[in-house]
């Protein structure tokens, strides 16, 4: 019963890691995982999040084995 967490680009640098694994707790959200791992209530300005490779909102509830990702504004192309 766990979830996988990934950080990309400047967010990975500021958090100090690229991946983490957390025990899955019923009712946990994208926002609560961020708080647990970083100690910060808010994501940096413009930061984005995704669950299972789809964009999501911070209040999305996570299921067991989900993959949640946090990253800065995209700058491709």
């Amino acid at each position: 019963m766990s979830i996988k967490v990934r950080f990309f680009a400047s967010l990975a640098d500021s958090v100090g890691r690229r991946e983490a694994e957390c025990p899955h707790v019923p009712g946990m959200t994208v926002a609560s995982v961020w708080l647990d791992l970083t100690g910060s209530e808010l994501l940096p300005d413009g930061a984005l999040c995704a669950v299972n490779h789809d964009y999501c909102t911070l209040d999305q509830v996570l299921s067991d084995k989900d993959e949640v990702a946090y990253f800065p504004p995209v700058t491709g192309g």
Partner: protein, 152 residues
């Protein structure tokens, strides 16, 4: 429809040629090909840039580009669409992105090519890290897609 993420340098003109040749007999009904090629500049924010690293999110980036491509095909009358995007170490002048659209008519080719490119720039998970004489820095935001909003 094809989406490619390339770790190695690519030749956008060769990619268009290969894709067009593969269309085969259908080519005779195609009246328009529109393409956009984005390359790495050697400057940004008033500073020379020597190299760049393009990071992406394997699994999400390809899925997202395929979704953008599928939406374009459902919205415009397209015979085909190609997206190629580079990741990894890039040098000034290297092509970074290619979007090509094939249609019977220019309006659909032009409009879809522009829309796919803007969707890619604003939503596809890629991140640029520039290397300059003063060190490495992440690019914070892309430049606006409209010339009316553009500041050099």
């Amino acid at each position: 429809m094809r989406v490619l993420i390339r770790l190695e340098a690519f030749d956008p003109f060769a990619e268009i040629r290969i894709h067009q040749d593969a269309l085969g007999a259908r080519c005779t009904s195609i009246g328009a090909l529109a393409s956009f090629i984005g390359s790495m500049r050697d400057f940004n924010d008033g500073e020379s840039v020597e190299a760049m690293t393009l990071e992406h999110y394997p699994g999400m980036t390809d899925k997202h580009l395929e979704r953008i491509a599928a939406e374009a095909i459902s919205k415009w009358s397209l015979d085909d669409l190609l997206i190629v995007h580079r990741v990894g170490e890039v040098r000034p002048g290297d092509p970074i992105v290619l979007v090509a659209t094939w249609s019977a008519h220019r309006a659909h080719a032009f409009e879809s090519c522009r829309a796919v490119m803007e969707a890619l720039k604003s939503t596809a998970p890629f991140w640029k890290k520039e290397q300059s004489a003063s060190g490495a820095r992440w690019v914070a935001n892309n430049t606006p897609g409209s010339s009316a909003d553009f500041k050099q």
